[in-house]
Point group: C2
Chain length 789, copies 2
């Protein structure tokens, strides 16, 4: 993979600017502030993927400590967890110091996120010391600083996306607050009406308690109705009394669920869009600013204009992107210096960061290794027949039919020996398919990193093969089906069927859009993790031990009411929701006493192992993950468990944060991603490169690509060919191609669109102006027909 | 109200074109095809509001027939309902004939909606005859044509908006279908996985039935999980078994609920936008086309260019808008003929429809009637003090505090006599407030039709006053609180509190946007009515009698299982959902046997009346409205009642149509409305009129308006002042003002934006081209930064 092909951890323009300083320093013209070759090395080190991976590793270690801390799933001594935590804090501190080294001092100290991290480290240390001291003197306190842990995930420089979502939430807050107050006003009004309409009727709920007599309870019930979680239970008593009252609930649902929830989405989406555009405008201006600065460092006077000489340009590119091939560099030079004048002018120079960011794939047209080793066999009649057969459409259709038959077989009963043999047949058919394809197409092309489906197929098949063999050998060796292995085998078998989607053109398009969304979805994964983690920590401190889970056959006291007399005869207990609790799983409730009867039909050794495994599995539920699940569940229906006021507030807060804010931002993001997909086009810079590639005759046709005859460029500096003429490469089979047009994110696309609107001679506003740009400026004074709707 | 001020039922440009023909005909230059003064009168008659109201009345009569038809809520003999239905059909046919008279023949027969109506009338008649004949010979059949009734609601020309939503749904279908297939594929895959993972475990659901063993049942359960209706019940057995399996459900919910549902919204929204723009472009071009045609009829040669003479222009405007004042007409002429050359050129003429559509309010600055009648008293020191007091901000704040105190009193117990007296105090306080305001501000200004909140306040207070007096007199006369009257009093009291929202600026803005959305929300009301009606009719035929409702104390057999042995011990019956049924309410179940004990604490006459009333009310539930409620409920949680396969398909169809299509279009519409609000601006034509108003010195300041010193123009043709100079009016206190900028709908705004982009000299494409414009052409070739996101 070439440097230009991957998304750089640090923006290209930052690297270019730093490199320009370095280059300048090397030639001793002047030594700029705090910049030296060592600084660039530190820069590289800071952005090296291992350093980033290490940072993330320690962040997750820190987050996962909750599993081992009291109340623990796997209890570890306080000393152990605190040592690990101190280690994590040290790593964070080291990372921060490293960052300070590569950043100008004033920039570093102005940045809130650095201050945030420092305060979080300090506070955590203080909390650790206090907690430890109290523990030694046997006083139990609360490790409240655990609540701060997600701060590290948010604030480390790599999590730019998460931070932007947080900023977006913060910016949306004022507008959301007003709509929320209006919404709450509406809920309060309806509650008052409900109190007057139903309070005097002496109606009873299904559980027999008075219906709609306490104002605050009505408010909560109606709030929950907005989530539709307690519908229709909450309306049934009124509905049974007279159906006219259903009009009340219909009005309520229309206004508060449909209207207000849509308004929330509209406000969130509109703000998301506005702030996204503003951030992107800032980014685009900053980039332009840095490129102009780099140009000013390197420029020399040539005739009437300032330019950068070809030699300096090459040195700079080598410094910034050391691992791209010479031919690729030559190509870029040709694009930047169209008329081969020996220098690059300002207009072309400021595009350099974009040029380096474009994925240009250099490919060698290669022959199949088998053709290379034994051309006679590979080109024999039989071989040619096989190859043309594999390339035929019928081959794909045949395998689609096989997949469908396989789906039916999967659904059939496993116990039938014929069916389990069929599994082997299918597995071999799939393996044969892959082997045939590799035989026909060039293996390196087949496994190129753009070939998502080939990778997917192969890994699924190999994993299924390994798991099935493992399972069979386990079975024959110990007469025992490992349940975990079996589960994995089942899942892999079903996943295999996904491949059929790829055969249908229309589905492939939608799938590609969805796959493009995945990287940014991970941002929301991070966001969700942060929010759920915080709620889980709070929930654990507030509600642990309130509800307990008993196995089905438990004879323990209070088993039927989840260990809480208040839940006796409640629908909650009757519907067996007891496992939806906030306990750490190892707390005082009775161990699982016996597996359900149905589990006992297999031989004894199996049963005992299985019951042991089940016991372990139940005991080992990671606490906060189960809370995460719980919250998913609560969101949908579990509000019923709420019995006291603090809990109600907790759940309303959860609903506001998760549903009104985060889910809406997620939806806004998906909407945006789809709309951008609809208006996707080639950028001007890409077009320039493509034109140059075509001019030089080193382009490649899409059809050839589809035949899989191409490979990624594996060329390194070793086979660097110096200033050789690019066109010569053609005879060597080296070709260029712009990589997939679909890799772009929403941000990248918007940034490109905005950049297209900055004039080439425009240097943009000053840095201070850029940082103070407000979203209100983004909106055009006169919206056009196309932009308005 | 002047004609120019209300939204004309027929577009201004159509009227103008017709009037141009008429004018032309009067002067005998040529008689155009099918146009005569009588034709214009027919045109007016067709578009008269009484004719439209009558059409809607009969449409709703036709729809409500379901209440009286077998299975009926109030059974009526078949002869009666069928006669009413025939009457309705006759009215529809007459309306259609009338429409044919005012439409060119070829246009009429090309229009699908006319054909639709004719076929529906014919089919309904045939069905009526067959059903009647079978009924006479005592064979029971199904009145299947009832399913077609909503067609009349959709297809009559007034329901343009509903038709557009339907067209939008139809156009979105292909894209939605592919996403839906992919979504179903995902559900099927997860179901297969669930079958393999849980099918062999012998798990049991809460109700004790096998868990996840039948593939089709799993598919249905997981489909329902997408609506979150059966969460967490559907996952509890797996979750109890091992928490690891919750990962399966989390993955499922993330992919299918969050991801796919957002994709549905994105696809629907994108298509809605695209088709909306296309329709609006068509409308704009058609308008331009008609205006050019009208111009061509009236044009005369003046120097080098074709123009319309001032006299003809005035005649035309008089013909088209007979009820606008002369001064208003003069103003429009001044705008059209800027330089007072005595004629209107083509560019100005094509704007005429827009000019007539702008709400220009002509106002006379009027003195308070009291000042007129008794100036001494009205301008006395006491009166002045009162008036300045009322205008003071403190007055508003005082009443805000009063409202808050009132809210507390409403929440308190009604039985306390002190509280019920307090109600009188509050009522009088509110009446005093209104009287004071009317005393201070000009009454006609106070009750101007733009003063929404004044109208709202006054009507609520008067209604509350009437209801409270009625209730008190009923109570003192018969010792009996009429429950209905009391309910109304309660609701009115609570509604009074809404006023507090109007005092807070930020809330007022949001409220205004919401109020602006209301008219188009009614379109969705119509749409929902159509869809629910169809589903109700089908549901009634399929499921009537399957579930029965028994009152709480019923001793009837099967009372506990809703009359259906299959529901015995089900959570459905236990949660008392039995009233969620598809029966007509008069069917065989036992009458309510005794009111709950709690109702008996009042004196005997009251109890007997109340129980009688309750009985009537329970018996009289309009069947299909209860189904409508039911569907609301089902959507949320009632999927549990589904016991056989046909019902499952019915509910999946309902979910797809209502949630995936209609709710998403509703959300798309609300999003669009909010975005348009953000980019609202004055149009070019409005600016021209405003400039002219200012130039002529007949403008009015916003501040004066806020003081409520202005009234709507009540001037008619009687005090027509001929060609008098407009500026003279000023001395008479007549002023002009462009009406509220916020009245506009999304459509109107988009149309205006698009028109601004058509060049004045552009006549637009031909009619055929206009009708064949495709949405794909709307997207710009090069999206700009602002339009993309």
């Amino acid at each position: 993979m070439s440097a230009a092909a991957r998304d750089p951890p640090l923006a290209q323009e930052d690297l270019l600017l730093a490199a320009a300083y370095v280059y300048d320093a090397q030639y001793n013209r002047n030594i700029p502030f705090e910049t030296s070759p060592q600084a660039v090395r530190l820069y590289y080190l800071y952005n090296h993927w291992t350093m980033q991976a290490a940072t993330y590793f320690f962040i997750f270690v820190d987050l996962f400590l909750a599993v081992f801390e009291d109340p623990a799933v796997y209890p570890l001594p306080f000393l152990a967890t605190s040592l690990v935590e101190v280690l994590c804090l040290l790593v964070f501190f080291g990372r921060l110091v490293h960052f300070a080294k590569v950043t100008p001092r004033n920039v570093f100290w102005k940045d809130t996120k650095n201050i945030c991290i420092m305060i979080a480290i300090l506070v955590t240390l203080i909390d650790l010391i206090i907690y430890g001291a109290l523990k030694i003197s046997n006083v139990n306190s609360i490790r409240w600083s655990r609540f701060l842990r997600p701060i590290f995930l948010i604030n480390f420089a790599e999590s730019r996306q998460i931070r932007r979502v947080f900023r977006s939430i913060r910016n949306t807050l004022p507008e959301i607050t007003y709509v929320f107050l209006l919404f709450m006003f509406s809920v309060l009004m309806f509650s008052l009406m409900a109190l007057k309409l139903f309070g005097d009727r002496n109606l009873r709920t299904v559980e027999g308690s008075p219906y709609f007599t306490n104002y605050l309870e009505i408010v909560f019930d109606l709030y929950v109705l907005v989530t539709t979680a307690n519908s229709p239970d909450v309306m049934m008593p009124a509905f049974d009394f007279s159906w006219w009252y259903s009009l009340f609930f219909i009005t309520y649902v229309v206004i508060n669920t449909y209207l207000f929830m849509s308004v929330f989405l509209a406000v969130v989406y509109n703000n998301y869009r506005k702030h996204l555009k503003n951030e992107i405008r800032k980014l685009a201006y900053m980039k332009r600013h840095k490129m102009v600065e780099a140009f000013n460092i390197l420029k020399v006077k040539e005739g009437t204009e300032f330019v950068v000489k070809e030699a300096q340009w090459k040195q700079l590119v080598k410094l910034v992107a050391p691992d791209i091939s010479t031919s690729h560099r030559e190509l870029l030079l040709r694009v930047s210096d169209e008329e081969q004048k020996g220098y690059v002018d300002k207009k072309a120079f400021v595009r350099l960061a974009d040029l380096l960011n474009i994925q240009v794939i250099a490919m060698r047209i290669q022959t199949h290794p088998l053709e290379h080793w034994m051309p006679h066999v590979y080109n024999s009649a039989v071989s040619l027949f096989i190859r043309s057969m594999v390339q035929h459409k019928g081959f794909v259709w045949t395998y689609d039919v096989i997949i469908l038959i396989n789906a039916v077989f999967i659904a059939l009963d496993e116990e039938n020996p014929l069916i389990s043999y069929a599994e082997w047949v299918f597995l071999s058919l799939y393996i044969i398919e892959i082997l045939l394809k590799v035989y026909t197409y060039e293996p390196r092309a087949f496994f190129a990193k753009t070939q998502f489906w080939n990778w997917f197929d192969t890994s699924i098949i190999i994993a299924a093969l390994v798991a099935t063999i493992l399972n069979t050998s386990l079975k024959s060796a110990s007469q025992y089906n490992s349940q975990q292995v079996l589960d994995i085998v089942f899942i892999l078998r079903v996943l295999r069927l996904i491949r059929i989607v790829d055969s249908i053109q229309r589905f492939r398009v939608i799938m590609n859009t969805l796959i493009n969304i995945v990287p940014t979805m991970l941002t929301f994964g991070g966001l969700a993790l942060v929010v759920y983690y915080m709620f889980a920590i709070i929930g654990m401190e507030l509600f642990q031990g309130k509800i307990q889970f008993f196995s089905r056959n438990s004879t323990a006291h209070h088993a039927l009411e989840c260990g809480n007399p208040a839940l006796k005869d409640s629908l909650f207990a009757r519907a067996k929701y007891c496992k939806n609790n906030f306990n750490d799983i190892t707390s005082s409730f009775g161990p699982i006493q016996s597996p359900p009867k149905s589990m006992e039909r297999r031989p004894t050794p199996l049963t005992s192992m299985r019951s042991k495994w089940r016991k372990k599995c139940d005991l080992s539920s990671l606490h906060f993950l189960s809370v995460l699940v719980l919250n998913f569940i609560l969101l949908a229906n579990g509000f019923a468990l709420v019995t006291h006021q603090a809990a109600k507030l907790y759940f309303i807060a959860f609903h506001v944060v998760v549903v009104i804010m985060i889910i809406n931002i997620l939806i806004a993001f998906i909407l945006e991603a789809f709309f951008v997909e609809y208006s996707l086009e080639k950028s001007e810079v890409e077009t320039a490169i493509e034109r140059k590639i075509q001019e030089l005759g080193v382009g490649i046709q899409e059809e050839e690509l589809r035949d899989g005859k191409l490979i990624d460029n594996m060329e390194t500096n070793e086979n660097d060919l110096g200033g050789e003429e690019i066109t010569k490469k053609k005879s060597k089979g080296l070709m260029f191609k712009i990589a997939s047009k679909r890799y772009r994110t929403v941000d990248a696309l918007l940034q490109r669109m905005f950049e297209a609107e900055i004039l080439p001679e425009d240097d943009g506003p000053s840095v201070d102006e850029i940082l103070n740009l407000s979203p209100a400026d983004v909106y055009p004074k006169n919206p056009t027909f196309d932009s308005a709707a």
